[in-house]
């Protein structure tokens, strides 16, 4: 049965596993224990104690803490109830001028700012860029992911979460 050490998974997640090994993992059958190994890798990466239940982006996690289940940035900043769209509690900066678009696209043709803008969603405390939206002006902000957290733990992992 395929199994990888926590170290291996840690390197993999960090994008530091040598290519031949990475390729082997890609081509092999998936390891059953992956999810919890992954959680432990992430848990030991963060400075805080709250239990990570589910990552929803590279540095955003749904965690258990005393005021319920919240979306949390790796830096520790909380975006509140995980059922709500964390983006609404984030900071934003919008690129909708030729000048601001040029900063990211110095050598190519760029979109028409009247047709499309780039929205950057940042963590208000550490300034990490969590998500980028490219959309028409006026387009509602997307709620990227609403996991069925309880169902996932109950039906797929067979380890139901405590009621909150």
């Amino acid at each position: 049965m395929t199994h990888y050490s926590k170290e291996t998974i840690a390197d993999l997640v960090a994008g530091q596993l040598p290519w031949p090994q990475t390729k082997r993992i890609m081509s092999a059958y998936k390891d059953e224990a992956r999810f919890f190994t992954y959680l432990s890798v992430l848990q030991s990466r963060v400075a805080w104690r709250d239990k990570i239940l589910l990552p929803i982006s590279e540095h955003l996690f749904i965690v258990d803490n005393n005021n319920g289940r919240v979306t949390k940035c790796e830096c520790g900043h909380s975006f509140g109830d995980y059922k709500k769209n964390w983006k609404l509690k984030a900071n934003i900066s919008v690129r909708n001028t030729e000048k601001s678009l040029r900063e990211i696209y110095p050598n190519s043709d760029i979109p028409d700012p009247n047709w499309m803008e780039i929205r950057e969603f940042l963590c208000p405390s550490c300034g990490h860029l969590h998500e980028v939206e490219a959309c028409a002006p006026g387009y509602p902000i997307v709620h990227d992911f609403e996991p069925d957290l309880e169902g996932f733990y109950r039906d797929w992992l067979k380890q139901p979460l405590a009621k909150k």
């Binding site: 994008g15 696209y105 190519s108 979109p111 980028v132």
Partner: protein, 728 residues
């Protein structure tokens, strides 16, 4: 089991009824044969798979089309009598289920009675509303009989490089209705007794600009179908026909169950959302009829629900209506997009079949471009919207992989790769027409653990390949003076998107060369990044020079342009050549080119992953040394300071300076940002007052008109009052 020689129509209806009542394919609630002897079961499946693979290889040897021979634009498969795929080759997987629709269509139309389905018959189709993606995707199927009973089908499809439409090539971007898309073959019996009818070949030869591609591909497909037929009959003789009938159903049911299991293994249940856009500009372009708005903007929202049973449901509610352009898609095409994506991420083990498709569901709102309620509309370039749409699907799936910990599977995904097509007088002085398929090698989106693949991925065929210059040049009257990687063409990110390449040609030995391009979204991004990564650049404009002085300069040994260069304001062509300079936003529809003209065309890169300020400086130094990125971009976008290694001349990172610079950039970006709540308050005024250009306004109006749900969500998000309306 139904008795021998039950009419196909009844068998199909019965099969569908059983699926409904039992939830399992054809009512196969238990995999008896598999449980009896799992190894024999696997072995037989492998056997059928390898039969498909070698049949496809045979066809590639025969084909005259660089699309098939050089870049493998074909796929073959074996089907149940009811038209469900049992086993398939590698190649353009997109068509496995489109052919299935074609078969079912013929069955439902009563083809068994008229025109009749007999041993040795050959049927062809390229009508998207019957079952394909676009006119150039021509499919051939033959029935497989055993002792007078139809026991299976063999099918093959190639992407043709010339379809005889209003513009040369296959992806006819000028088609605004089906009547200008090219030569249609609508579920037609084109041969019998293993021979293609001569009158059909004559029709092709007289209605296509480059008939040899189509005709020889047709022969190649039939040859491969016959070889699959032989393999199937071999298997039946080995295991017996009743065993076979049960076996193929179990293969598919197993495929269905396998898909549900994979989803439960690799993802997380819940609702995933994403979107992309597509902007089309034809204003003032010759040839386009004023049937609709010349310029338009499409929104493509996708909502993916993964149920606790592992079923995937994809919903396109809220997207735009079909239009008088070539980019509409049929449900068959939408199926295809779904299928090809699944085979790349979950079903790559090769034992995949239609079972995987049965474990998914597409919601395609009637009247939208995904399911037109008018079958006169054109679908010649439906890929233009399909690819962005399924790029979104790949990102949604990837969100699931990421959440589940399978970071190595995360893939920002596919992008459009605009094709150029051409026709006129060839370098041999003969009439010709061709689609240039080097576009089958764009940049891929980034992964969560490494950069995207440079110049070697397209969504429709993972076996991507740009082909040899010395082969392409045998089919067209222009010679390459450049084919090079485009720096910074991959979307920025901790892991950047794969870079694209750009080709530069000198038109040669012709005085009449029509160059046409399709799939262009230059006004808006039709791709995106993930987890903080940026989209790859929009589709690039074309740079060309007519009547250039290139030959004269060459005589004087003066420097010549080999690409448009990295100055978007003034291309190398403008800097280095005299002549009539053209910067044309696609699609490129202009007067014919001739000897001495220079033309450039670039493909697209993929979106990035992660925050640019986390990108590895060492990797970046390698990028700059090898021309995937400019030093300027490394500094200004990524905050990476590079020096030069005097030993090797390679670039190397200055870590200390980089750390300081990045600290400042992070502080600056935070300072320039504002809370979303604050931004929404001000933005709401703009929305309420509809301060948008007409294309954007029209997009909202159309989405609201088609989708009450979109209207509800739009108004709710901006808290607009109930009687808010968009009047055009």
């Amino acid at each position: 089991m139904l008795k021998k020689n039950t009419p196909l129509k009844d068998r199909l209806e019965e099969s569908e009824r059983l699926m409904k009542s039992t939830g399992c394919y054809d009512g196969v609630t238990e995999l008896q044969l598999r449980n009896q002897d799992p190894l024999k079961f696997e072995t037989l499946h492998t056997k059928l798979r390898s039969a498909c693979v070698s049949a496809r290889e045979m066809a590639r040897r025969i084909s005259a089309s660089p699309g098939v021979r050089e870049v493998g634009e074909m796929v073959v498969a074996i089907y149940t009598p009811e038209g469900d795929a049992i086993a398939l080759s590698n190649g353009i997987m997109v068509h496995v289920h489109t052919m299935s629709r074609f078969l079912k269509w013929m069955i439902k139309e009563g083809y068994e009675n008229d025109p009749g389905i007999n041993p040795g018959d050959i049927f062809a189709n390229n009508d998207a509303f019957i079952g394909t993606v676009q006119v150039p995707d021509v499919m051939d199927v033959i029935p497989i009989f055993h002792e007078g009973e139809l026991v299976a089908w063999a099918g093959a499809v190639c992407h043709e490089l010339e379809a005889g439409g209003i513009t040369p090539g296959g992806d006819v971007c000028l088609a605004q209705e089906r009547f200008t898309e090219g030569l249609f073959v609508c579920a037609e019996k084109i041969g019998s007794n293993d021979k293609i009818r001569r009158d059909y070949v004559i029709r092709c030869e007289r209605n296509l600009r480059m008939p040899i591609y189509w005709v020889l591909d047709e022969k190649a497909k039939v040859a491969s179908c016959i070889s699959m037929r032989e393999s199937v009959l071999e298997v039946i003789n080995e295991v017996g026909v009743d065993f076979w009938k049960q076996l193929i159903k179990e293969f598919i049911e197993e495929g269905r169950r396998g898909q549900l299991l994979r989803t439960q293994q690799l993802t997380v249940p819940g609702i995933y959302r994403g979107h992309t856009f597509y902007g089309h500009v034809t204003e003032g372009k010759p040839g386009f009829q004023p049937l609709g708005e010349p310029n338009w903007l499409y929104n493509i929202p996708v909502e993916l629900t993964i149920t606790s049973g592992g079923k995937m449901i994809m919903d396109f509610e809220g997207t735009q209506p079909w239009g008088y352009h070539s980019m509409n898609c049929t449900p068959a095409g939408m199926d295809g997009g779904m299928f090809v994506t699944l085979t790349q991420h979950m079903n790559f083990e090769g034992l995949v079949n239609d079972g995987a498709w049965m474990a998914t569901e597409l919601k395609l709102p009637k009247g939208t471009w995904t399911n037109p309620d008018n079958e006169m509309c054109a679908t010649a370039t439906s890929w233009a919207l399909l690819l962005p749409a399924y790029g979104v699907f790949q990102r949604l799936l990837s969100r699931g992989f990421l959440a589940r910990g399978f970071v190595e599977e995360v893939f920002v995904g596919q992008v459009n790769s605009p094709m150029i097509e051409m026709g006129g007088t060839s370098q041999y002085g003969t009439p010709f027409g061709m689609a240039h398929f080097e576009c089958a090698a764009a940049g891929s989106g980034a992964l969560a653990i490494k950069d995207g693949l440079d110049t070697a991925y397209v969504g429709w065929n993972p076996e991507s390949d740009m082909g040899n210059i010395e082969i392409w040049e045998q089919s067209m009257p222009m010679v390459y003076i450049g084919r090079s990687i485009v720096p910074n063409s991959g979307g920025a990110g901790k892991f950047r998107g794969g870079c694209s390449f750009v080709s530069t040609w000198l038109i040669s030995k012709t005085d009449h060369l029509r160059l046409v391009t399709s799939e262009h979204s230059s006004r808006v991004f039709d791709n995106a990044g993930m987890c903080g990564g940026y989209p790859a650049p929009t589709c690039q404009k074309h740079r060309a020079t007519r009547n250039s002085d290139i030959k004269a300069r060459a005589k004087k040994r003066l420097p010549l342009p080999h690409s448009p260069g990295i100055d978007p304001k003034k291309s190398d062509l403008e800097k280095l050549l005299k002549g009539k300079h053209i910067t044309e936003e696609g699609p490129y529809i202009t007067a014919p080119h001739k000897e001495g003209d220079v033309f450039t065309h670039s493909y697209n890169g993929g979106g990035g992953f992660g925050d640019v300020l986390q990108r590895d400086p060492v990797k970046t130094a390698w990028d700059v040394t090898n021309g995937f990125m400019t030093r300027e971009a490394a500094l200004k976008i990524y905050g990476i300071v590079l020096g030069v290694d005097l030993e090797t001349g390679d670039f190397k990172a200055d870590f200390k300076k980089t750390v300081t610079l990045r600290r400042n950039m992070r502080a600056k970006r935070l300072k320039q940002s504002q809370p979303v709540s604050k931004w929404m308050a001000s933005e709401k005024k703009r929305v309420a007052a509809l301060k948008f250009v007409p294309e954007v306004k029209r997009m909202y109006a159309a989405a609201i008109k088609l989708s009450p749900r979109f209207e509800k969500e739009f108004k709710a998000f901006w808290s607009l009052n109930k009687n808010f309306q968009i009047k055009m």
